[in-house]
């Protein structure tokens, strides 16, 4: 009898131990975007799988990076998703750690551009997007990024502000089209500044563009593919341009916080997020375009996201160091030439 009591006592303690393990928490820092879908597709299933608790912090990347910097000595966040350039910024501030990709079973399934976007082993791309021009096919023809500045079109164009994620890539492509491509984007900003009175607006929120397009306030605007879907629902002939200079875009990456106590768990979470199944579900929900090349989606879904080997290979992304080293110069150049 005594043994039985002892055994059950031990069992109880073991059970408590297991219960204690369940208290494990992983803190992630993500964009405040499509969180309902992420909860359903990524967070809830992962919590079940790891029997741990996920704490999700959201915000824009500047805020979130500032927070990580403030908590550097005693990191709260275990893993974060940020833009490529912000990942390099975090590397330079010594906030993140090298990712042991041998622990990511889905790593080999990624498109090449997503494997190590900054070439330093500190980040892994989980989604990317194309940036091109949404335009009224009945009013204009867009064959080059420079067509936006044509006198007959420019009064119907909204251009992204340099402060948005779409701004620098769009300027980068405009510079290429004008034959004035330098990392400081001077040529493109200057060309835009000359037309600033004609251009309808330098938009900050792409959600505003749908209304402007519907009101015929604008005919064309460079946008990220992720904000394309609402335009297709307007009862207007709107097309996605494939300019001869190519499309640009951006990539979001996963990073591992330096000094995190849950690195194994964080890697497990990253691997789960990169899995074909999760990436496919996120794509189907039109949340994030897949970085996993095994993901197959219907034509209808493909139409609304950035999809496929060919697209992935054709994207001309601004190198992170160029973005980082020139960001403030772009802003002051923009404020001097366009912002006033």
């Amino acid at each position: 009898m005594k043994k039985v009591i002892l055994a059950s006592g031990v069992a109880l303690m073991l059970g408590m131990g297991a219960a204690h393990a369940q208290e494990k928490t992983l803190t992630i820092s993500v964009y405040a975007f499509a969180q309902d879908e992420f909860k359903k597709i990524v967070y809830d299933p992962f919590e079940k799988l790891c029997s741990c608790k996920l704490v999700v912090e959201t915000g824009n990347s500047v805020e979130r990076l500032a927070k990580m910097e403030a908590n550097k000595a005693n990191p709260v966040v275990d893993m974060a998703v940020v833009s490529m350039a912000d990942a390099l910024a975090a590397t330079r501030s010594d906030l993140i750690e090298k990712i042991d990709t041998s622990k990511l079973s889905n790593f080999d399934k990624l498109y090449d551009i997503a494997k190590d976007p900054n070439g330093d082993g500190m980040s892994v791309g989980y989604t990317f997007y194309a940036t091109s021009i949404a335009y009224r096919t009945d009013k204009m023809k867009i064959e080059s990024w420079a067509d936006l500045l044509k006198p007959e079109y420019v009064e119907h164009v909204a251009f992204p502000n340099v402060t948005t994620n779409q701004g620098p890539p769009a300027l980068y492509m405009l510079g290429q089209a004008l034959g004035k491509d330098s990392p400081d984007l001077k040529g493109a900003i200057e060309a835009l500044g000359e037309k600033k009175d004609e251009i309808v607006t330098f938009y900050v929120k792409s959600s505003q563009l749908v209304q402007l397009m519907q009101q015929e306030e604008i005919w064309a605007a460079p946008i990220g593919r992720f904000s394309w879907a609402p335009f297709t629902k307007l009862d207007l002939p709107i097309g996605w341009a494939t300019p001869k200079e190519g499309q640009t875009g951006g990539m979001n990456v996963m990073v591992l916080a330096k000094g995190s106590k849950n690195q194994e768990l964080a890697l497990q979470f990253m691997d789960f997020w990169l899995s074909t199944e999760v990436q496919a579900k996120l794509a189907e929900a039109l949340v994030d375009s897949p970085a996993n090349k095994e993901v197959k989606v219907s034509d209808q879904v493909a139409n609304n996201i950035t999809y496929g080997q060919e697209t992935a290979e054709s994207l001309k992304l601004i190198p992170s160091d160029v973005a980082l080293d020139n960001r403030n110069a772009w802003l002051s150049e923009w404020n001097a030439k366009v912002g006033q």
């Binding site: 805020e63 502000n161 309808v200 505003q208 209304q211 009101q215 015929e216 306030e217 404020n335 006033q340």
Partner: protein
């Protein structure tokens, strides 16, 4: 009411501590940022701020728009308030309700409505073209005019309400008396109504001017980055450039502008009195 001062002070203490801890102290800390430099305390951030042409443009634009909105809302506000106080009590209540109504709608919704109204295909442009005043659609959106219209609509109710309460406190027979004594309407306004309702102008003017200085949504949506104002510039400094020093410089400038406007309005109002 109280037996001694100490008792009164003791009662005010919790509120004072609360205000100091959650408002005054953080504000001082924030503003102190702007005076810090590598070599100690200095006003370098301020001189640096004003040496940039774009910052000067934005500063003057903010001041100009705030002043115009305040003056125009005072002019319209007097007319409206005067009409309203002379109504029968029931109608007056309903009219005041109508004036307050826009305040109950979110500024975001109101501002988005202006995008539709002021757009190329909006009602304003349709009317202008229908009346033959313009050949093609005018560009109103994303100009200073749009920001002005948005701000005026946003803050006019505050001016009207302030003026209504001031006019109601004015002796009923002051205006008829002045008229009987031979004053024309301009003299009645300038020498009788204005001095007697100066409190209302000062309060309304301060509310409208500070409101215009600090409104973020309206200039952001109706002006966009082509019509940067101090508040939209502040947001840009924090959220894009992560430059809290410039942001606290702008914050202090906005605070100083608000206080200055209040002092100026009070001065203008009392100056009339002393004459």
């Amino acid at each position: 009411m109280f037996h001694n001062r100490a008792e009164a002070m003791a009662l005010a203490l919790p509120a004072a501590v609360f205000a100091a801890a959650v408002f005054l102290l953080p504000v001082i800390l924030l503003l102190a940022e702007g005076f810090k430099s590598a070599e100690g305390w200095s006003a370098a951030a301020y001189t640096g701020f004003f040496s940039e042409p774009i910052n000067q443009t934005v500063f003057w634009r903010t001041l100009r728009l705030g002043a115009i909105v305040t003056v125009v809302s005072a002019v319209i506000g007097y007319a409206a308030a005067f009409a309203i106080v002379n109504l029968k009590p029931g109608t007056k209540g309903r009219m005041i309700g109508l004036v307050i109504l826009p305040l109950m709608i979110s500024p975001v919704a109101r501002t988005y409505a202006w995008i539709v109204i002021l757009g190329r295909t909006g009602i304003v442009n349709q009317a202008l073209q229908g009346l033959g005043l313009t050949d093609g659609p005018l560009r109103i959106l994303f100009t200073e005019t749009a920001v002005f219209i948005g701000l005026l609509q946003l803050f006019l109710p505050l001016m009207i309400i302030s003026l209504i309460s001031a006019l109601e406190n004015m002796p009923r027979d002051a205006v008829p008396a002045a008229r009987v004594l031979g004053a024309n309407w301009f003299q009645v306004f300038w020498k009788v109504i204005l001095p007697l309702t100066k409190e209302g102008v000062v309060i309304g003017g301060t509310l409208v001017f500070t409101g215009s200085l600090t409104a973020y949504i309206t200039p952001a949506i109706l002006g966009g980055s082509k019509v940067l104002m101090l508040e939209t510039l502040l947001y840009q400094q924090v959220s894009v450039a992560n430059d809290f020093v410039s942001a606290s410089v702008i914050a202090l400038i906005l605070i100083v502008m608000s206080f200055a406007a209040n002092l100026l309005l009070k001065r203008v109002a009392t100056a009339r009195n002393n004459r």
